[in-house]
Symmetry: C2
Subunit: 317 residues, 2 copies
């Protein structure tokens, strides 16, 4: 063995010094994630904003109510490092124009770069019997469930594809986007429609390295849930009496965990998984456990008004 | 044994004569079915109108194009008896107001009585990539698939329930309302949404003795299909190259047969049945064969762009 000649040692040390300086200057640092969250001022969207700010992302929350947005960013900023950009935009996301305008506003802070993570958490539910609602209620239901997410997805995907940004589009549907019952004729069509959009978009986005996910959430506690219950028909309430909605933080963790596992249709309840394997169709499943769920069996509704567990009237196959 | 006294015989013969006269006068005859068919001037809707006129129903067809409507009623009238009422109404069914107005017009001929059979066959498909469409294309897609049926269903159900008319509401969705792929982001959301509406409405209508059906049709030959193919992206065409669309009459017979069997979700292709048992969720199935279909297995899409049979990349369970 012999020691390295002094000039080789000097060159090595110089290179090492340059590398350390480059790391210190952030030249090798991955740029921060640009996260765009609709419905980000309350419930699931806000819980997600808190978590992703803690994880070091740039976060823009979008919602309608300016006061709640201001309150949200005031709560988010203390959690952020000085390099993280935290902002909010007030917009009516049921309109295509203002959905696109909101996104255009958001990207200004990112030097025009498209978001790389889009979480579509906006939406609301107002259960009512079909025979008791007017056409306006039907239209507002679809606007507030489907368009509120579809227009933003469209604006974001177009910008991401144009800039070759690889990222994620995450829709939020519902257990009631797999199957449904009396009381949800103005809600479930939009939640099913989101699944139709996600199923088709997932396929198209394989061409562009953008991953699409859809979270089939069970009930989430909060002001949205309280408003939903205010006018819920008695029969709908009866069908759901076994349900146990979760806190937004718990639901948010299930959603992030599903995304991290690479699941396409993400669930947060065993019964949703049972329904998923019998209702998702031939889109990608979530792994070997799906086989176990399929053995537990497809659940079939009988002709009664308790169409879901815990009181099914017939188990088929 | 002894013969009946003459006055008993006379009374019996008189009763018999009254009964024969009553039958001849139609007093015991079931009133003719009042049938309302949207999209009734072409394709599936028109084939259905022809068949139901032949079966002796009152039939009103609704569509936008007045010339095609006039041509349709001219073809229907020679098939009808003098007691059958055949008429047409031109209306834009993507608007709630004109959907309701069209129904109000239709019932005038029936003395204000609600239809007892409503067939929702209107709709169109214009495949396009999500990244290539504008928001107007998205909106027109949903209007022309979802609202074109949902508003009429709403107006009809309200009138039927108010008059305690027992009858049927039949939606027309699609194979692409179970699962979908690149090219259908403006079409499948509406077809999924119709399934969401039908699933919730089926449950609510158990309270009112109205049966709800949804026909998950495979491709139907005709002008609608030709228009769909005109701008179809090459990838979408490739995915569908194994498909064999049927003539409207063949499809119509499958739909009527499904209704007669009491199926809730009606199919007209083996592969649709395979998808149905893995995509319908816990709504009522179509009988013992469903078990066989479930054994053939859930079909899972791999991460490629041939997401449906005949070339699936993975079979799960």
């Amino acid at each position: 063995m012999h020691s390295a000649p002094p000039h080789v040692l000097t060159a090595g040390l110089t290179l090492l010094a340059i590398l350390i300086a480059a790391i210190a200057m952030g030249l090798f640092r991955k740029p921060l994630d640009r996260v765009y969250i609709t419905g980000g001022s309350s419930g699931l969207g806000r819980a997600l904003a808190v978590e992703l700010v803690r994880r070091g992302a740039h976060v823009t929350v979008v919602a309608r109510d300016l006061r709640k947005l201001e309150e949200t960013t005031a709560a988010l900023k203390p959690l952020a490092s000085p390099s993280q950009l935290i902002s909010h935009i007030s917009a009516d996301l049921t309109s295509a124009e203002s959905s696109e305008a909101a996104l255009n506003d958001a990207v200004v802070a990112w030097g025009g770069k498209a978001p790389d993570h889009v979480y579509l958490c906006a939406g609301f539910s107002r259960p009512k019997f079909f025979v008791d609602m007017d056409a306006q209620h039907m239209k507002e239901g679809l606007d507030g469930v489907y368009w509120v997410s579809a227009y933003t997805a469209h604006a974001a995907v177009k910008r991401m594809v144009a800039q070759r940004v690889r990222g994620k589009i995450v829709f939020v549907s519902s257990f009631l986007g797999y199957t449904t019952f009396a009381g949800y004729t103005s809600y479930s069509p939009g939640k099913y429609a989101l699944r139709g959009l996600a199923d088709a978009l997932r396929s198209e986005m394989l061409l562009h390295n953008i991953s699409v996910h859809i979270f089939m959430s069970a009930g989430i506690l909060g002001p949205g849930f309280d408003a939903e219950n205010e006018h819920k028909p008695a029969i709908t309430r009866k069908i759901e009496e076994g349900d146990k909605p979760d806190e937004p933080e718990v639901v948010m963790r299930a959603m992030i965990s599903g995304i991290e596992k690479g699941h396409y249709q993400i669930t947060n309840l065993l019964i949703t998984d049972l329904i998923r394997v019998g209702a998702a169709g031939p889109v990608p499943g979530n792994g070997p456990l799906d086989f176990v769920y399929s053995l537990i069996g497809g659940i079939e509704i009988g002709d009664d008004l308790s169409p879901i567990l815990p009181a099914p009237t017939a188990f088929a196959f």
